[in-house]
């Protein structure tokens, strides 16, 4: 039964004629083998879902995640559950109740009156001032707010394709869900009244884009070091490799820290800091991949097909781009995907120490950093929602990476 359920998710490998199998390119072979890994396919779908939702985050989020969208009437508010039916009857259209905050009842009159110290004592020992009482809210079950789809809301930029003076910024103001009256907080709000759900899905994209920038920078440096070292060999190779070896043995997070401290001294806008951090993370991570590429190129450059290309009069660049790069292209793609979670973790550890991105920016690291606040741990457990998303994201990446690694193994087929 269980296997039957799983077999729905994984498509059976098609019966291939021998010819198409042997003429298939490496990428299509990998794709075909990947489809037979059940856990990888499931993780891939989850990953695709997360990436899509985060890329179109403004469309999917019901509330503006910045301070402009903060709901001052519903600070520290709990998640508003979506219902379909209750004791007042069933409704085909999902709805949420109307929530209103209970005003803190601080009896100043008793203080100003004859009470004096005794009244003050009663006030401080009562629960009017404790933070848990700030989370109290009144649910009005009779006032239903119905969910609406494709509602008009704040305007946002769907995709910004502007290049230079060419203005191709596509703007839209429709959102997937909303309610007819007030704001919808599926995952509650934080202490400023910002919507946790909207912040989280915006944060995923920021974090992913840092990882993408970092990985591109890393790829560039790895290709540079590995390529130069492998192609020229000899003394250049020896010097570059001893340097790479030295970089490899130093633990990276303290180095990121040192660079982040140095960056904190420079006055940067949030966007610049964001890119600087990505570049630092990427640039210091070239050692492992660079070494692999160098070994690969060292063995490949003596192969017959390179000699044949040289005899045909191909230039060095042509040999590198047309012959060498395709031979390890799939390896690079797989390695990059496997490294995604580690880069994301590096970003979050920096943010945890307050040295990465900081508060007004929505990154997963910033949101995770908030989770260490005892106030949030005890009174606003819904702010752990980004943690759940983070765990799902990392797990999806690791499982996809595993499946891809297995799929990219050219010898896997025969056993």
């Amino acid at each position: 039964m269980f296997t039957r359920v799983l077999s729905i998710f994984s498509r059976k490998p098609k019966e291939q004629s021998d010819e198409s199998y042997y003429t298939a390119g490496q990428l299509s072979l990998i794709k075909d083998r990947f489809k037979s890994k059940t856990s990888g396919v499931i993780a891939g779908w989850i990953l695709a879902l997360l990436v899509t939702v985060s890329f179109f985050a403004p469309f999917f989020s019901p509330v503006d995640p910045t301070i402009n969208g903060a709901d001052s009437e519903y600070r520290r508010g709990a998640p508003q559950w979506i219902h379909m039916s209750d004791e007042n009857g069933f409704s085909l259209r999902p709805f949420v109740y109307t929530y209103s905050k209970e005003k803190a009842k601080i009896d100043f009159k008793a203080l100003s009156g004859a009470g004096g110290l005794a009244a003050l004592d009663a006030l401080t020992s009562g629960d009017a001032l404790t933070s848990s009482s700030q989370n109290k809210y009144i649910i009005d079950k009779d006032k239903r707010r119905y969910l609406q789809f494709f509602v008009k809301g704040w305007e946002y930029s769907l995709i910004d394709l502007s290049v230079g003076s060419l203005n191709l910024d596509i703007r839209w103001d429709r959102h997937l869900v909303g309610v007819d009256n007030g704001e919808l907080h599926i995952m509650g709000t934080d202490e400023d009244g910002k919507d946790v759900f909207s912040r989280s899905i915006h944060a995923i994209w920021i974090t992913l884009s840092i990882a993408v920038v970092a990985l591109i920078v890393k790829l560039f440096f790895s290709l540079l070091v590995g390529g130069v070292s492998g192609y020229f060999g000899g003394r250049v190779d020896a010097i570059l490799m001893s340097f790479t070896e030295a970089v490899r043995v130093i633990p990276p997070i303290p180095i990121y820290l040192a660079c982040a401290v140095a960056l904190a001294e420079i006055d940067l806008t949030p966007v610049q800091r964001y890119f600087a951090i990505a570049v630092v993370i990427g640039a210091l991570d070239f050692a492992a991949l660079g070494r692999r590429l160098r070994t690969h190129i060292l063995t490949e450059r003596n192969q017959d097909y390179i000699l044949a290309a040289q005899l045909c009069g191909s230039s060095t660049w042509r040999i590198i781009w047309q012959h060498l790069v395709p031979s390890f292209g799939s390896y690079i793609i797989v390695d990059t995907l496997i490294n995604f979670p580690y880069v994301i973790l590096a970003e979050t550890s920096l943010s945890f120490l307050g040295l990465g991105l900081t508060e007004p920016v929505n990154s997963l690291g910033v949101l995770l950093q908030k989770a260490q606040d005892p106030d949030i741990q005890q009174n606003m457990i819904w702010q752990f929602f980004p943690v759940a998303l983070f765990v799902a994201l990392i797990m999806a990446f690791v499982f996809v990476g595993d499946a891809l690694r297995d799929a990219a193994d050219p010898y896997a087929e025969k056993s």
Binding site: V249, I250, I253, P254, L257, A258, S349, F352, V398
Partner: protein, 420 residues
């Protein structure tokens, strides 16, 4: 610094001009005490070189030894120059301290202080001095924030971090190696047995076995990857929080208060209560960093074993009729051990990487916490550089040891590195 150098030249001159044997004695003792590390390094190198003349193996060890020393030199250069990016320097800090004492200070004071500390010299000169002091007597420099030599400030703390990392490594190996092998074993298997040669009952039984294996593999992978996906600091915090909710004292630090000042060996022999308390505290950092290291370890073991499984010698063994556990344990698993052993050094580096943040959350006062303090709070360049250098030293020594051990016991490595 300069005074020290004058002292050293004096020592040399005194050696040359030494008259009485008694004076000789003292001077030579001083000289040895000042340069002991260099003599050890040189004599080890000399011994290896001498043996290397007659034995190919020792020739290889000598090469590795030189390579390790050179890597260390480059590492010290990288670390030392990277620490330059930290804002401020020793002179500024010292003067800033003075100004809190009510003295008025000028830019000229800072410049004078810099000149006194030798900070006005170019980076290369300062690095050269640092390396010279280090190779002569293992002196790691002076920590400005702590106002004492780095060796004193670090003390046993580095060893504490070292043993934490080793314990976490052992923890992750104990979990990752067997489960990684199991994972590799189930990797290309189907959920169901479709072999037409088996009878239907056999196929059902085999299918149940296979599904169970796949299922266990999936569960184990999910659990071990959770260690990676749950950020270390959050995991440590959550565990501490659970203790708080349960109303028990959280296992932060190394000892509970009542055991902090109790000696290990009391009046009635070894104090087991203290050991118990100690173990009750150290499991938390070890568990947290060990769990997160497990994921990568498991991936590595899995990939290594799968790589080996697909090689021709395994097919050959299968063709000879070796089956089941004997085939697995004797062929692919056995051969994937040596690359795993070879990566111990880098695994240590990876584990140490995670330690500082966990140490901060749990409130440890080990070398890793000191590193974060030096980097992010006090900007103590030489202390941070020294700790990073020590970590690199451990990694490089581990790589050196695993390399020479593998060359001694693994015939494949021996032939590849020594050409027969």
């Amino acid at each position: 610094m300069k005074v020290e150098y004058q002292n050293r030249t004096l020592v040399f001159m005194r050696i040359i001009r030494a008259k009485t044997s008694f004076e000789d004695h003292i001077v030579i003792a001083d000289f040895i005490a000042d340069t002991w590390l260099l003599w050890i390094l040189v004599s080890v190198g000399g011994f290896l070189f001498w043996r290397g003349q007659s034995s190919q193996y020792f020739g290889y060890v000598f090469n590795r030894y030189l390579l390790a020393l050179m890597t260390l030199l480059i590492v010290s250069g990288i670390v030392f120059s990277l620490m330059e990016v930290l804002p401020g320097d020793c002179a500024e800090k010292y003067i800033a301290y003075k100004s809190t004492q009510g003295e008025t200070i000028t830019q000229a004071d800072i410049a004078a202080e810099r000149a006194r500390m030798g900070l006005d010299q170019p980076l290369v000169v300062r690095w050269g001095q640092w390396v010279t002091n280090l190779t002569l007597r293992g002196d790691l420099g002076f920590s400005c924030a702590k106002r004492q030599s780095v060796n004193l400030a670090l003390g046993d703390r580095f060893w504490m971090s070292f043993w934490f990392c080793i314990a976490a490594l052992v923890f992750s190996y104990v979990i990752a190696v067997p489960f990684g092998i199991l994972s590799a074993f189930t990797i290309n298997k189907d959920w169901t047995d479709k072999n037409p040669q088996n009878t239907k009952a056999e196929r059902i039984i085999n299918s149940i076995g296979l599904s169970l294996q796949k299922f266990i593999d999936l569960q184990l992978r999910i659990i071990s990857y959770l260690g990676l996906a749950l950020p270390n600091f959050l995991l440590a915090l959550t565990i501490i929080l659970l203790y708080v909710f349960a109303g028990e004292p959280a296992p932060t630090g190394l000892f509970s208060n009542e055991f902090r000042d109790v000696p290990w060996f009391g009046e009635d022999g070894f104090d087991f209560a203290k050991l118990n308390d100690f173990l009750g505290h150290i499991w938390l950092p070890i568990f947290v960093i060990g769990w997160s290291a497990t994921a990568l370890q498991l991936q590595t073991v899995r990939a290594l074993v799968v790589d080996e499984t697909n090689k021709l010698y395994v097919d050959a063994a299968r063709a000879r009729g070796v089956r089941g556990a004997a085939l697995w344990a004797g062929y692919p698993v056995r051969h994937s051990i040596s690359p795993l052993f070879n990566s111990v050094g880098f695994d240590f580096q990876r584990v140490f990487n995670d330690l500082p943040i966990v140490a901060i959350v749990i409130g440890l006062t080990d070398g890793a916490a000191l590193l974060i303090e030096a980097l992010a709070l006090t900007n103590d360049q030489e202390l941070a550089a020294a700790i990073l250098f020590l970590v690199a030293l451990v990694v490089i020594s581990m790589n050196f040891i695993t390399d020479i051990v593998l060359a001694a016991i693994d015939p494949r490595v021996r032939t590849s590195v020594m050409g027969g």
